[in-house]
Symmetry: C2
Subunit: 315 residues, 2 copies
């Protein structure tokens, strides 16, 4: 079985023909043009797909569907994209438009779900049945994979992994509540915490790694400074590990999954981060002796996880 | 199909023959004898079951299995009860013992899962696909029902619904962590908060409803006083609604279920509690317009939810 997986991003659209053994048989890329209407973008995408299909080196009967990941709020029951803030799409019948044009079955999901499903099927999670994916970026996203399948909830609106309050009346969150995991464990939160620590500690090595410019702080800065022995940076990292660790532990107690996979730029910190995370979670893990401890693993797929994962909606 | 559902409690064991339309065809009860070994208790239970089977008014071929709910940590892979603090059972091969004696297939789960599954199948949740059950008692327990099936996680150790931290470094919890939902939203927590408020407010009506004796406070006391117009009690209730509401909202964002069912003695407070809870959750619910809002409902099954739910392991 071969599926075309499509990952619609804020600036580009990536597509691939994916066999159900994860083999990628061909790819295409197109841009998202700023200010373009949803109709125009989708019609351009349809044209790309129709041109792409004959180039896939397979018997055409092997091509069984199209999976699409979209950044925003999706209704999996109706196949509509309800709202995509990045694309400025409102109530767009994406599934129907693509099905009408290609005469193939189409499934849509949000981009975080797609990327998480790809990672669970063909990345770090491939040997596991139940997997939680947490993506640390501007916010905290992720996906829930149970019994090897994406769990999407009513109308596909579950798995808002970052919007779990871990601190009553805590930091304000974009979702309207206060104290969400996202406000503590996103890359944005880590950068803000780093800047705050820098303002309080003018002699911290953090300034050196930010080239003396607080606006140059990124998610790597506190790790670099902590590895160089800076105490202030070390405290920032330890707090971050605690915030993220509490989120992971909450998900372990709810799902007792086989694995928790961490993706996003911060997951590139490797053992330095994961050793601390595992130590924190092992210390506070719930349960009587012999309760299985979930693996905590970095994601291994790169930019292709979104399109591969969109194809996995059919696998 | 008829299944024998068994609910092992701290003081009694209740069993029922349950048809898959929820009809109860007969029941038995036996006691848990304090100090008795696990072998003795289970052998007594087996004797009860073997005597009960011929009394069920069905063709014997209709009897297809036995489901058992046990208070404690269960391994659904091995069929062992790993540990039951109430029963003082350690690594007991309950499934095998019952199967060997009855020659019927046996499934076991923990008691909170069983009761939640019963409520989801045949109680408040019967029309819904995805249901979260929160049981407010000494602790906060519950169950996760997805696509009409119990979700149990690795070895059956998921759904520790009360052990989700909602307050970093918050109140100490029996699980070893701090700030768990259980420490804020259990009946125990409500009673403690009520007592604390009474100590600070000697003229509160709470004292009247507790007959002047702080040791007589129960989960009903603050509701009674709040309904009578007591400001202190009203504040206790509003805080409780906030704590429980934040837990419910977290579960809504994770699962976007069709319904959240609240069980346990506190759920008997009816509209007074549920109107407040719904108002709180509606105010802070996540999502763009048209995101489906989960129903928040009281449980309707009584003491039989555990045995009916244990039978539901087969339905």
């Amino acid at each position: 079985m071969v599926i075309i997986g499509i990952d619609i991003g804020g600036t580009s659209i990536k597509g691939a023909a994916v066999r159900n053994n994860s083999q990628i048989l061909g790819q295409f890329v197109s841009e998202v043009i700023k200010g373009e209407s949803s109709d125009d973008t989708i019609n351009r995408l349809i044209k790309n797909v129709l041109e792409f299909i004959p180039t896939i080196p397979i018997d055409s009967r092997e091509l069984c569907g199209i999976g699409i990941g979209v950044p925003g709020s999706i209704n999996t029951t109706t196949g509509y994209v309800n709202f995509s803030p990045n694309l400025k799409w409102y109530d767009v019948p994406l599934k129907k438009m693509m099905e009408d044009a290609t005469h193939l079955p189409v499934k849509i999901t949000n981009d975080a779900n797609a990327a998480g499903l790809g990672e669970a099927h063909f990345g770090s999670g491939k040997q596991f049945k139940d997997v939680i994916v947490l993506t640390l970026g501007t916010g905290v996203g992720g996906a829930i994979i149970l019994d090897h399948k994406l769990f999407e909830g009513n109308e596909g609106k579950a798995a808002e992994m970052g919007h779990m309050v871990i601190e009553l009346d805590g930091r304000p969150c974009g979702c309207g509540r206060n104290g969400c995991l996202e406000s503590y464990a996103s890359a944005t939160a880590l950068i803000n915490d780093t800047k705050h620590a820098m303002e309080e500690n003018k002699d911290s090595l953090l300034w050196k790694f930010a080239e003396g410019d607080i606006n140059k702080v990124n998610g790597k800065t506190p790790f670099d400074a902590a590895k160089a022995g800076d105490k202030v940076a070390n405290e920032v990292i330890n707090n971050y590990v605690k915030y993220l660790g509490e989120g992971i532990l909450n998900y372990c107690n709810i799902f007792r999954p086989n694995a928790v996979i961490i993706s996003g730029g911060i997951s590139k910190q490797g053992d330095y981060l994961f050793d601390k995370l595992k130590e924190y979670c092992a210390k506070w893990d719930y349960g009587y002796p012999n309760t299985p401890v979930p693996e905590i693993l970095p994601a291994v797929l790169g930019y292709e996880s979104g399109m591969v994962g969109a194809a996995c909606l059919f696998f």
